[in-house]
Amino acid sequence: MADGNFRELTELELAELSDEELIDYIRAARAAGRGDAVTLALRVLVFGYLEIIERRVALKVPPQDVSEVAAQAMESALKSAFDEESVGQFRSWLNTITSRRIADYHRDREDDPYLVQLPNEHEGDDEVWGEIAGREYEGVRLDAERAIQTAYGELKAEHQAIIDAYVFADRPAAEVAEELGTSEANVHQVASRFRKRLRELLDDGDTPG
């Protein structure tokens, strides 16, 4: 989309664009001086992901700070995309940036007296909670994310496809089996092994750094 022949799209047309196409469109609208088009496209992109980010952040950050951390993640990811840093797929980059903003949040507040000590079964046991022991909200460890990434990363590609469809997309095992050319029993077995490995990693806290 060259500056001179920028064509404004409708909401419905924008909703059909991929993330990368939306960002290209915003960049082109900006270059063409079309602030209204920039805003409309930002609406589609921000609406599409803000709630997802907020829910991820809510797992690890006190409620009163969720919006701020989520907004920071969205802003940083968009700015990187605009700066044409090598961010690859926007979605994947957004995940990475969200994890970083959550980590920044906890790092910045290491001595914040307003963060509550967790009432949990490991209270007082710094070893269990690692470097942010007792400072994290509601008992969700930062390495829960690492555990799931590790358990998933250890799988072969075809098993990852099973986990994506059966566990994370919550589709029926029979449907997944048929689509991926395997048996229903195998779908259950792969999912069961994945969950077992996940529990091991969470119990041990030995996810590789």
Partner: protein, 209 residues
């Protein structure tokens, strides 16, 4: 089916139907020993969840409009993320804009030029002041007021991508969430356009780099 299986299925269903899907609520419903696993699965799901389809009504009810407003000012303006960062820092410090301006003017030794300092600060928050023109002295003063580093403020102020082509350098695109908002009121209003040789000390501090 374990509680974790049921809860993750319910979470996915609620999220995908546009429901509340509060992760903390789901964690509270899980047995204490299952919470980490459920949190990891929720996080794994959210990292893969598809972009939410565009829905204008849901957008208006969401937290997105406020973020879109500041992002539009950032993308369209010349002040990077200052339109979102500075009001957020002000809010966190529980300071009114007028209080920040008074403090800033005092720290710059420009109490008599408080109104002019206020206009420039307003431009910074509105995205209309080219960040490269703002001196280290100004950023240092703001950093002290907000308890941030000067470098962090400088980095946040870096403009999005390339300079806007075809638009006046100090015009912010959309300063309201309404895509049809009046775009004719640049945040640089009220400030002189005198050549650099006629600048006073305050002009130099905010525009001279």
């Amino acid at each position: 089916m374990s509680d974790v299986d049921t809860l993750i299925k319910q979470f996915i269903a609620e999220h995908e139907s546009g429901g509340d899907a509060d992760p903390r609520g789901f964690l509270e419903r899980a047995e204490a020993g299952d919470r980490q696993e459920l949190a990891a699965l929720i996080e794994g799901y959210l990292m893969r969840a598809p972009r939410r389809p565009w829905d204008r009504d849901a957008y208006e009810r969401s937290n997105a409009p406020q973020l879109v407003e500041t992002l539009a000012a950032s993308v369209g303006g010349s002040s990077g993320l200052w339109p979102s960062l500075l009001p957020r820092l002000r809010e966190r410090a529980r300071l009114k804009r007028s209080e920040v301006v008074s403090e800033l003017a005092a720290r710059l030794g420009a109490e008599r030029e408080r109104a002019k300092v206020g206009q420039y600060y307003h431009q910074m928050e509105g995205g209309g002041l080219p960040s490269e023109g703002v001196s280290d002295r100004v950023l240092e003063a703001l950093a002290q007021i907000f308890g941030q580093s000067k470098e962090a403020l400088r980095e946040a102020g870096r403009s999005f991508g390339e300079p806007t082509a075809g638009a006046p350098p100090q015009a912010a695109f959309a300063r309201t969430a309404d895509a049809q908002a009046d775009l004719s009121a640049p945040v640089s209003e009220g400030l002189s356009e005198e050549p650099a040789e006629q600048w006073d000390e305050v002009d130099r501090l905010f525009r001279g780099g």
